[in-house]
């Protein structure tokens, strides 16, 4: 425990003192604040003169501004934080000759990898909590609304799944830093996997679903084929942690998701007006809906870390 704490403290200090983390954090914080500000301004404009719906505070997180919502932004760029924190966790120590020094101290070898992973998770948590708090502060100022208990509960759960999501990518990056001795190789492998899982899985799902159950928009297709196509696409897409996270966070932050709301396309003002007549999912029901996503996300994060752990522990130490 003493060894893990020492490694943890050292790693935490390294993360917060490293230029690359400060730059990335500043970039993500800046984009988050701009996104939240634009969403807040758009909400304020659309809410003028009408009764405010129940979950207006959460809209700050899921309203698409000029480009994307805050939730979409974290889903897309959050992994980069995990990758940046972990891609050279072990191979940097090896290259600098400090790994042998660490393991020749009277600590268990797993203290090194546990300390590094926990420090990364703590850094991610601090970063996400601070961003959500600042954006909430924006919300209070721009919308003049105080979040209710349920909204706070939803935001806390959102933070939990976001931490697991980014920790999955941290685990992947640490695994590559153990497998590859070269730092650029592990960085490249991490980014390649991020691109593959984030972009190509959904593309592959579409191609595969189209091949197995073709749906032709010009010709009449059987209803069963359309459903089969959608199911195949859905199942394959869920192999991507980004899809798992996006679905779960969208349902959490938007209580109107998965409710029988109007199927017609509406503008923001109409959507807000209509939401007053719709029945949102209570938090407990939203949690039930995202439960499989949440379990899958936690499972892949733990599996990824376990693989890193086993590989690290079984590697020969050589000078």
């Amino acid at each position: 425990m003493k060894g893990m704490l020492a490694v943890y403290r050292k790693e935490l200090a390294d993360h917060f003192g490293s230029n690359r983390f400060v730059i990335l954090f500043a970039l993500i914080a800046m984009v988050s604040f701009i996104t939240a500000y634009m969403a807040g301004m758009s909400l304020r404009e659309n809410l003028e003169g009408i009764a405010k719906p129940r979950f207006v505070f959460l809209m700050l997180f899921n309203t698409t501004g000029a480009l994307f919502s805050l939730v979409q932004f974290v889903a897309f760029f959050g992994p980069l934080v995990g990758l940046v924190l972990g891609f050279d966790a072990i191979n940097r120590e090896r290259a600098h000759g400090t790994l042998i020094k660490l393991v020749s101290q009277p600590i268990y070898r797993d203290a090194v990898i546990n300390g590094k992973f926990l420090a990364g998770v703590t850094t991610v948590s601090i970063m996400l909590v601070s961003i959500v708090l600042v954006v909430s502060g924006f919300g209070l100022t721009l919308l003049g609304m105080v979040p209710g208990i349920e909204e706070i509960g939803r935001l806390v759960l959102y933070l939990v799944i976001s931490v697991f999501y980014i920790s999955f990518w941290l685990g992947i990056a640490i695994l590559f830093s153990i497998l590859f001795r070269s730092i650029p190789t592990s960085a490249l492998a991490s980014v390649a996997l991020w691109i593959f899982l984030s972009f190509f899985v959904s593309l592959g799902a579409e191609i595969l679903a189209g091949a197995v159950a073709p749906v032709d928009s010009l010709q009449e297709t059987r209803r069963e084929d359309v459903i089969r196509n959608a199911r195949i696409r859905e199942r394959i897409s869920l192999c991507s942690p980004m899809t798992l996270y996006s679905r779960a966070s969208a349902i959490l932050i938007d209580p109107m998701r998965n409710t029988p709301r109007a199927m017609v396309l509406m503008g923001p003002r109409e959507r807000i007006s209509a939401s007053r007549f719709e029945s949102p999912l209570p938090l407990s029901q939203s949690v039930l809906v995202i439960y499989p996503h949440l379990v899958a996300l936690i499972a892949v994060t733990l599996i990824c870390f376990s693989v890193s752990y086993v590989v690290f522990m079984s590697q020969e130490i050589r000078t």
Binding site: R9, T98, K101, S104, Q105, P106, I317, R318
Partner: protein, 255 residues
């Protein structure tokens, strides 16, 4: 423990795939001695040190270090043994004090106690006298200062036994002399047993009580320099030096 061997190995061997890096090593180190561990690159010296520390599992044979089994009691051994690896690395952004504090934390030394010990070991290795070392990041240190800091890091746990793997590698003559003097001081004044692996044979000759020569994974000779000189040349070490003895053994194994 007094009077018993600090290190004992019986048929210790290590295979990396098809390569036998250490072959049937039988070694005994008595408390208080400086043992020079000699051999060409790739002879298996560093692998032996790793096995004795419990960092690498032996393929065959067994060992006892300070009366403990390196396979099952590695952590306890690492509390008693300080190891300075060849090409030791440092966290370049930390100062000497911070580096030592980190190592003290890893060794579970209380912060209040560690503060005094940090100053003590810096004094021992001569880094408090060095103006360049004060409050500056280790990344700006010269090679000699880094080596002395490396020794300070292994001394902070107050070890009974020191494994020094090429401690004078890449140092200028003055830097190497200071390290050798430091090793002598640690052995004579602090009573620390030293296992010194080095290619600088004249330095080893100067401070070692006994030497062991390892070639191609085998310990081909072990004894005091006098004994080895007598055995191979029939003369004492005043007439032949360690380099000649070493070369004699080396050419016998690798003609």
């Amino acid at each position: 423990m007094e009077g018993t061997a600090l290190i004992e190995t019986w048929g210790l061997s290590k295979d990396y795939g098809r390569l036998r890096a250490v072959d049937d090593l039988n070694l005994r180190l008595e408390p208080g001695e400086v043992f020079g561990f000699l051999g060409p690159n790739g002879a298996g010296k560093s692998t032996t040190l790793l096995m004795l520390l419990g960092l690498t599992r032996p393929s065959e044979g067994k060992a006892r270090v300070c009366g403990l089994d390196p396979v099952r009691e590695a952590r306890k051994i690492k509390e008693l043994v300080g190891y300075l690896p060849e090409n030791v690395g440092f966290y370049g952004d930390l100062t000497a004090e911070e580096s030592l504090q980190f190592v003290a934390d890893l060794n579970g030394i209380a912060r209040s106690e560690a503060r005094d010990r940090v100053q003590e070991v810096l004094e021992t290795v001569g880094l408090t006298r060095d103006e360049d070392a004060r409050g500056k990041p280790v990344g700006t240190f010269s090679r000699g200062m880094k080596q002395r800091l490396g020794i300070a890091e292994v001394l902070i746990k107050e070890p009974r036994l020191l494994f020094l793997d090429e401690p004078t590698l890449g140092l200028d003559p003055e830097g190497a002399r200071r390290i050798i003097e430091l090793i002598q001081t640690l052995n004579r004044e602090h009573g620390i047993t030293v296992l010194l692996s080095s290619h600088h044979l004249h330095q080893v000759q100067k401070i070692s009580d006994r030497v062991g020569i390892m070639i191609q994974g085998k310990l081909v000779a072990v004894g005091s320099i006098d004994e080895l000189a007598e055995e191979r040349f029939g003369v004492d070490q005043e007439t032949v030096n360690l380099e000649e003895i070493y070369m004699k053994f080396f050419h016998e194994v690798q003609p």
